[in-house]
């Protein structure tokens, strides 16, 4: 009896999270006039909304832009984050603690304070309307550095000394010798960085004006608010479905990693 109530409550909760998405997908295949009446399955499936959307906005191009920006940022964060994290975690040198405190401090610094000056830097460096404007500011990430520092700290001293004996350079030691030992950290940092980059809208709205360079969420946002959807709900919803699709596919494959990674952002504090 108790179990039945428990399952019923859980099922209602699960449906309240899943149903809106299913409804959105169904609505994107429904004729414009029918969406206001749609409950679940449309009377007639149509691809009209999608066809119209492809004619109106360069959504394919924006998908490529988002992929380029998110992957490059992620690779950059993994690379630089490992370097800094390794130095902070395994080496002792003057100024190490100061750098560590600076990194911790930047995590508590609200982004609202650097937003306007960073835009001005982009203008002055002539980076507005380039991929670089989206990638370069994201290349260093305090959270990634701290994760890598933590991971490299767990590697025994003997192993680090042994790696130095054959005279290989530090970069080789970091990426060839120790990276294979910290794969869970790499996965976590990669997922979080990629998702943050993929889902960010505020910064792209500020530094990208050229429609051909817009990221996917930015393009969909401007389409939804800009009146170009001309109150065409179906087209708007179709663009939202396409925007959600890549992340949902990735999520359904790497579900456990997504949940663990996201949970670890909360656990650091």
């Amino acid at each position: 009896m108790k179990k039945t109530i428990l399952y019923t409550l859980l099922l209602i909760a699960a449906l309240s999270f899943l149903f809106p998405f299913i409804w959105m997908i169904m609505a994107s295949f429904t004729e414009e006039g029918e969406i206001g009446k749609l409950i679940f399955i449309p009377n007639q499936f149509t691809f009209d909304n999608y066809l119209q959307m492809f004619g109106k906005i360069p959504i394919g191009r924006s998908l490529v832009n988002s992929l380029i920006v998110a992957s490059t940022s992620t690779l950059g964060v993994l690379f630089f984050g490992s370097m800094v994290g390794y130095a902070l975690g395994t080496m002792s040198f003057k100024g190490r603690d100061l750098i560590f405190y600076i990194i911790i401090f930047t995590m508590t610094l609200p982004f609202q304070i650097t937003l306007i000056p960073n835009y001005i830097i982009m203008v002055k460096l002539h980076l507005v309307d380039t991929y670089a404007a989206l990638i370069i500011p994201a290349l260093n990430n305090a959270f990634a550095i701290i994760m890598f520092r933590q991971a490299f700290k767990t590697i025994p001293r003997d192993l680090i000394d042994a790696a130095h004996i054959d005279g290989s350079g530090e970069l080789r030691i970091i990426f060839q010798v120790f990276w294979p030992n910290i794969i869970p950290t790499i996965v976590t940092v990669a997922i979080l960085t990629f998702m943050n980059s993929w889902n960010d809208v505020l910064w792209p709205l500020i530094v990208i004006r050229d429609e051909q360079l817009m990221t996917m969420p930015q393009l969909v946002t401007l389409f939804a608010v800009g009146g170009r959807a001309e109150a065409q709900l179906g087209v708007k919803l179709a663009s939202a479905v396409l925007l959600a699709l890549p992340i949902i596919v990735a999520y359904s494959i790497f579900q456990k990693h997504f949940i663990q990674s996201m949970a670890s952002t909360g656990l650091k504090g």
């Binding site: 809106p20 409950i39 130095a87 750098i99 650097t114 937003l115 000056p117 949970a263």
Partner: protein
């Protein structure tokens, strides 16, 4: 080891951290300092900086729309945070029982967390629409009547907070679940012997044990709530009657609709200061309670 190698070895930590230092200087240290410089200037980016003393601060104090945007942001937090904690805690408690399909439920709760806020906002704008939204249609057929979720200035911010809760709650379910699993099982066993009810165990054992998680959730959702932007930007563009204009949306509008860079930077500095004060107060409260 020859001298060259030794020098290189002493230098290597600095070489490794140097990209971070350079990046920090350009994208954090300089912008923070420049923000403070901007607060004393009027600037539209194109013409030269014009020194205006404390004009920006004076303007800020009398800028009713800015204070309204702060109050709106607080309204959002006041609805969002308690709602989020209660729902997340309830769902986590359900999931912590011996049940089947745990993985499925967890994955379902978590789905909105990973999907872009843009998608969620476009979807909910439709669900909450006054005339043909799914929720109002449901309320109509239940005989309750339509609610102006996004049209009524008194509840529009509440509706946005409701949507944000729906989007984020899955993350906090997971965090609470981790917290619940750290509560020692023997406490419950001891309570069982005393014949405690489920509710008594929850109040006297569970809640005190997961206090740190609750406070972490409060701080994380406070910081998240203070950056509220895309939801009102897409859904209401701050309306009706400016009831949903958030502080970040207002800063954005000042900078990129009116090109008041100096004033916008002033708002940014002031708002960042408020955020830090609020978070520090919250942390102090936490330490006291620990």
């Amino acid at each position: 080891m020859n001298t060259n190698n030794k020098i290189l070895k002493n230098l290597s930590p600095y070489l490794l951290v140097s990209p971070y230092i350079v990046h920090f200087m350009i994208f954090i240290a300089f912008p923070v300092l420049f923000s403070f410089v901007l607060t004393f200037h009027k600037w539209n980016i194109i013409s030269p900086l014009e020194y205006v003393g404390f004009d920006n601060f004076n303007h800020l104090i009398h800028d009713r729309l800015f204070w309204q945007s702060l109050i709106n942001t607080l309204k959002f937090l006041i609805v969002h945070i308690p709602l989020q904690i209660i729902i997340a805690l309830a769902l986590a408690e359900f999931l912590n029982q011996k049940i089947k399909f745990k993985g499925f439920f967890r994955a379902a709760f978590f789905l909105p967390v990973i999907v872009s806020g843009v998608v969620i906002t476009i979807l909910w704008q439709q669900l909450l629409s006054f005339d043909s939204g799914l929720i109002n249609r449901f309320l109509m057929s239940a005989g309750i009547g339509k609610i102006g979720w996004l049209n009524d200035p008194r509840i529009a911010m509440g509706s946005i907070a409701l949507m944000a809760t729906w989007k984020n709650v899955g993350l906090y379910v997971i965090l609470f679940l981790v917290g619940l699993q750290t509560v020692p099982q023997r406490y419950y066993e001891a309570a069982d012997i005393e014949g405690a009810t489920h509710w008594q165990k929850f109040i006297n054992i569970t809640l005190p044990s997961i206090n740190p998680t609750i406070f972490m959730v409060v701080i994380l959702s406070t910081i998240g709530g203070f950056s509220l932007f895309i939801e009102p930007y897409i859904m209401t563009s701050g309306g009706p009657l400016n009831s949903t204009i958030s502080a970040v949306l207002y800063i954005y509008k000042q900078a990129f609709e009116f090109y008041h860079m100096g004033y916008s930077a002033t708002l940014g500095v002031f708002f960042a200061f408020i955020i830090m004060v609020v978070v520090v107060i919250q942390k102090k409260v936490i330490e006291k309670n620990d």
